[in-house]
């Protein structure tokens, strides 16, 4: 009997190559005031990070601090963070007070039945996906350890560069932004934008 189950998995794995790139699906979620919002309306042709969390998840709360920083830093360049809470009716009433206490800048939506988490292939939280400007899901992350935000920020900047945003309207924070890692070559964005070339292998990682 296990052979049927694993044959199905193998078959679906090969079928997945037939599908077009994983697209952000439509979903209607409520914000903290009960207003219904279509996630695709929030996408707005810019790269987006969607992060799933719940109140008893301490790693999730640590990650949200950096997501707030990224939302503030890159929002003028079209990037947006959407935070999706998965607490169900048992604890959902404490979500809004928690968010208000932290004064986060990003949009927070409720997914109390974890339907949207399930639609995006998530199993545990924290779970974060990155979506490019065309609505394609380009990256998925499970779990968070302090320090992971450095790799995440690099991915966000790559998305912004790949979006081929007009350099004349780029915010100065992006133009001056470098990510320096000890003993690694720093990534300097103005060089990339002027030459319009993709990142070199040693610049990517």
């Amino acid at each position: 009997m296990p052979k049927y189950f694993f044959k199905i998995i193998l078959l679906l794995f090969f079928i997945s190559f037939i599908f077009s790139q994983d697209k952000l699906p439509t979903a209607f979620l409520k914000d903290l005031d009960g207003k219904k919002i279509d996630i695709l309306d929030l996408h707005n042709n810019g790269p987006m990070a969607i992060s799933f969390w719940f109140l008893a998840c301490e790693p999730c709360k640590k990650e949200m601090k950096y997501l707030d920083q990224f939302n503030n830093k890159y929002s003028e360049n079209g990037f947006k963070v959407v935070s999706v809470n998965t607490d169900n009716s048992r604890t959902i009433n404490r979500v809004k007070p928690y968010i208000n206490s932290k004064k986060y800048s990003f949009t927070v939506l409720n997914d109390p039945k974890s339907f949207f988490l399930r639609k995006l292939g998530g199993k545990i939280c924290p779970y974060l996906i990155l979506v490019d400007k065309d609505g394609n899901i380009v990256s998925k992350h499970t779990g968070y350890n302090p320090g992971d935000e450095i790799k995440l920020e690099k991915e966000i900047i790559e998305l912004l560069v790949d979006a081929k945003i007009d350099s004349t309207i780029l915010d100065s924070t992006i133009l001056d932004s470098t990510i320096k890692l000890e003993n690694e070559k720093p990534i300097i964005l103005p060089d990339l934008i002027e030459t319009n070339e993709p990142l070199d292998e040693d610049q990517k990682e």
């Binding site: 009997m1 694993f6 301490e58 009716s89 009433n93 404490r94 292939g121 779990g143 992971d148």
Partner: protein, 536 residues
Amino acid sequence: MRRFLYLNILITFIYSQIDGNFSLESKYAKDAAATTKDPTFFENILDINLYIDDLYIFSQLEYSSPPLIGHRKEELSDMLNIFYIEYFDDNFDLTIGNLYLLHGKGLSLHTYQDQNIDYDNSIYGIESTYHINDNFDFFTIMGRREIISRISPIPEDNPLSIDNRLISIGTYCNFDRVNFHYLSMLYEQYYQYDDIYMMKDLSSLLGDYIEGILPMIENDTPDYSMKNIEHNFGFNYFNDFGDLSYERSLIYYHKILGERETGSREYFSTYINFHGINIILEHKDYNTPYLYSLFSNPPIGYRESTSILSSRNVHTLDFNNEFGHQLEINKSFDSGTTILFNYAFAMHHKDDNNIKETNIYNLYGYMKNLLLDKNYMHKFQNFNPYRQLYLEFSGWDKEEEFYYRFGYDYIQEYLATYYILAKTLPMQFVYKLNQGNSVNIYFEIQDKWKDDVKSSYWYFSPSYSHYGEWSFSLFFDKQKNADEWIGVDYTININNLNQLSLFYGSQQGGLVCANGSCVIQPEFDEGVKATYRTSF
């Protein structure tokens, strides 16, 4: 079942406009008592998401030989856990299949799946929602299912199996600062005699009642069905300074093989922000003591623990018989420091004319309760009182390289057969190194009294995370002058879509935090565990 699977796969070839994704979670464990061919558990869960224009199809397949909890699923006919189709457009939503429902705060209707405890109270049926305009929705639900429900924590014990048929209608009204909902549901429950007999082991008024009537029915061994009606109403009000929520359910049901009863469930919460200080107050009163409710999953009214040791003394909410409150006060400062105070208190209704039930004044006697007077709880022990106090102080240093969290958790509870008091000091420290690496340390100390027998526990778990690519954790869990549980865990993110975790050693059951996430794990003796997650 086989035809369904092949049809599902065939559709994907025929219709190229289908989008989809799949995710798989596989868990394997072999402890000292198990063999490779007959492991401790081998559980595989595959989620299939398919999108065709406005249509969405979800399937969940499971192969478990055996699972962590529950019965084996080795036959093809058993593998389909969940299946539903959703259609939605601007005016109309339709769901057919397993219905996962949440209306209001769930006082009457909340169905969901929790794989950790092998729980799924969904029904098979149809849910339709008509969006009359931007302010009004109207919904109908119709379904049926034999719902499995565990009353014993021992996995080998047989669960209850109760057949349910349900019809419900309702409406939602949404405006700028206020929304209302109303639902009415009629459901029939069918109990076989074996299920009635097992219910005598419930440590509740219902269990006492069943034990009382069994001598009168054990010769006839009758089955029983009852028709129940519930009316549920609620509203939420929002403004710039806070929120107000209220919900109430009226329930008309029968005692099993007995007379008609009227019950109620009530929930109230308010939140205000006063000069940056957040104050949240919740009140709950769930009073259907002779009903074995399968669809009600309301707010718990206490804090879910984030501490590893405290999570082992978690209060078990009796959804049919509990009333109490929760008060939380927190404030975050600009420096990043957060202070939190949380207090929760609850007890059961008692059906005994000789015992005077507590009144609202006693229930909200904060000053008396806050003195942590053991005798105060002892006065109400016949009502199975529960009390929890939690204080926390957390934040980052100025350079945002060092994180600290200090807590104090105090839990006191009178259960049916024993008394628990636990005092826990949970601590967490994080130090961020260069290049995206970090060190994370959990350190907790607990003193626990079960009746008058004291036990002391220590928990220490350091872990190192390397640039989001892999992490390594040690677990040291010890009961003073008694057992100890030691383990190591290595997790590698093979790429953005694949994660593999390997564990060796022993583990106490409860909350385990490692690899950047916290999950509930079962108890595990000396052995090896592997978890693989992938999405494609």
